[in-house]
Amino acid sequence: MSEGLTWTVYDANTMTQAEIYGEVLCMLGEKYSNIVGLSADLANSTKIGKFGKKFPERFFNVGIAEQNLFGISAGLAKAGFIPFVSTMAVFTALRAAEQVRTDICYQNLNCKIIATHAGTSFGTAGTTHHCTEDIAIMRSFSNMTVIVPADGIETANAIKACVEYQGPVYIRIGRGFEPNHYQNEDYGFKIGKAVEIQDGTDITIICCGSTVFHAAQAAKILKEDDGLSVRVLNIHTIKPIDTESIIKAIKETRRIVTFEDHNIIGGLGTAVADIIAESGKGCAFTKVGIPDCFAEIGYPEDLCNYYKIDTDGIIEKVREVMGKEFEQDDEDWEDEV
């Protein structure tokens, strides 16, 4: 964490993830004269425009041209700058995927991509503006680090951490109406390390981004109403993923459910599934997310409810998994292969 900076200028309860990002970047810009900002006609929507207003000479708006946006940021990184690049997630991960992969990741350049409006957070805009594929795409790019902050406070932590983290980083945030989970930033955020929101022994909910709030709420209700001991892991870094915490959850809870605002193919759930499969250990497992379809149109809260990635949906899924027959009292679990 950077020294000498205070992080109290923002009010997490009234500011969106993107607004907090804009503020934090402005503060970092004071300390790091080699930070530059770039956007493609979305300076205001992504809030990187705050940095642009404060440091106009260090901000480049390239117009509606995302391929050029990422190519230019690669060039600036080559010249020794730390480019922070922001546009909507769908235009980053899809429109300019090759520039991100070839210009930035292949050359292992120090670009920080903060992609907004991810998942179904701009649900009313329809499929062209939904982005439920970006985690799958970005985590398949070698050298790329992929972070999905839970809320504004975690976004601030991720932005601070990525400045001193060498190499390309993709930070995925929403449109700005997601519920907040954290109230202050001192909870031990570290890139690549999961945060245990709550310990538990019956089942583990693994979540990221906007589902963290809902998972935490669900765990409380499941404790009160069902007497369940639910572990909640916030896997904010999808890559490199915290394998250790997941293996520990497999061993200690034997039931895992993943929740994410992303296609169930290729995202957090798939990353966790890989670890379960490679562990060689039995485990009840369900992935919840957008079920390999282009999501319906609607407000994010309605879509999350529909796809069961809100509090009620998570509760329902946990109960479903708990109801499944599962050999959970095997004393010799270690002998399984």
């Binding site: 480049f60 190519g71 230019i72």
Partner: protein, 280 residues
């Protein structure tokens, strides 16, 4: 710095050597983009042996000029030039395309000294050059960024995104050159996807255009001198070239966009180059 007759003589000597190098490496590699490698020999030769402020002993020194080969498939040509400039031993190019070689068809800046950007996917180089040019301006550095594009490559929309931004940002520390050899893999540029009126397109995008003979050192030199002194708009040099230049059976032949050579063709190709330079 007007080019002298003596400089031109020395550059011709280098170009003769590099053309034969490209033929050798294509032979060793089993195949390479030899046509487009040969068409840009004069452009690369004059950049590396007259203009670029670079140092093979300190390939990363900050104030160096940058060069981005946006037509990344010309890697075989750039590799030969870098070897003759002293970045690495020419003999290392015997491993071109071999298992775990640092040298593949498209050069990797993390594996080959002297390469400023990994290119190969077309239409990416000019954007990176724009970023480097903005970076130089921001750092108040005087180095230039040169970017060599292929003409077929200019079908890519991203080239025009980059072109638009270079003029918008008034980048006069960026010098773009197009190797206008008029052929792409599937045929003539004007048959596959016409790009004419090419100069007018760049002018419309806010650039100053210099159209020259891309095999004429004096013409290239004059155009670069002009570009280096321009203080208002970015300059693009459209260099009219011949694909496969110097090898009679390859010149303007689309089938030599990419090709390999057997021992007989290797000898014939080199003889042809010698003949073209009056050294037979």
């Amino acid at each position: 710095m007007t080019i002298t007759a003596d400089e031109i003589k020395q550059l011709k000597e280098k170009a003769w050597q590099i053309r034969k190098d490209i033929i050798d490496v294509t032979f060793w590699a089993g195949g390479a983009h030899i046509g487009g490698g040969l068409s840009m020999v004069e452009i690369l030769t004059i950049l590396y042996f007259k203009y670029l402020n670079i140092n093979p002993s300190a390939p990363e020194f900050e104030d160096r000029d940058r060069f981005i080969l946006s037509k990344g498939h010309g890697g075989v040509g750039l590799a030969c030039v870098l070897a003759r400039k002293g970045y690495f031993d020419f003999e290392l190019l015997k491993d071109f395309n071999k298992f775990k070689s640092p040298f593949g068809i498209h050069l990797d800046c993390r594996k080959v000294k002297g390469v400023d950007a990994s290119t190969g996917s077309l239409g990416h180089g000019l954007s990176m050059a724009v970023g480097l040019s903005l970076g130089a301006r921001l750092k108040k550095k005087n180095w230039f960024t040169y970017c060599l594009l292929g003409d077929g490559e200019c079908n890519e929309g991203s080239v025009w995104e980059a072109a638009m931004s270079a003029s918008h940002f008034k980048l006069t520390n960026l010098i773009a050159i197009v190797d206008r050899n008029k052929l792409m893999i599937d045929g003539a540029t004007e048959d596959v996807m016409g790009i004419e009126p090419f100069s007018d397109k760049w002018k419309a995008f806010g650039w100053i255009v210099k159209e020259i003979n891309g095999h004429d050192f004096k013409a290239i030199s004059d155009a670069i001198d002009y570009a280096k002194n321009e203080k208002d708009k970015p300059v693009i040099i459209i260099a009219d070239t011949i694909k496969g230049k110097g090898v009679d059976f390859m010149e303007s032949q689309v089938k030599w966009h990419y090709g390999g050579l057997d021992s007989d063709l290797l000898i014939k190709a080199k003889q042809s180059v010698d003949k073209a330079y009056g050294r037979d």
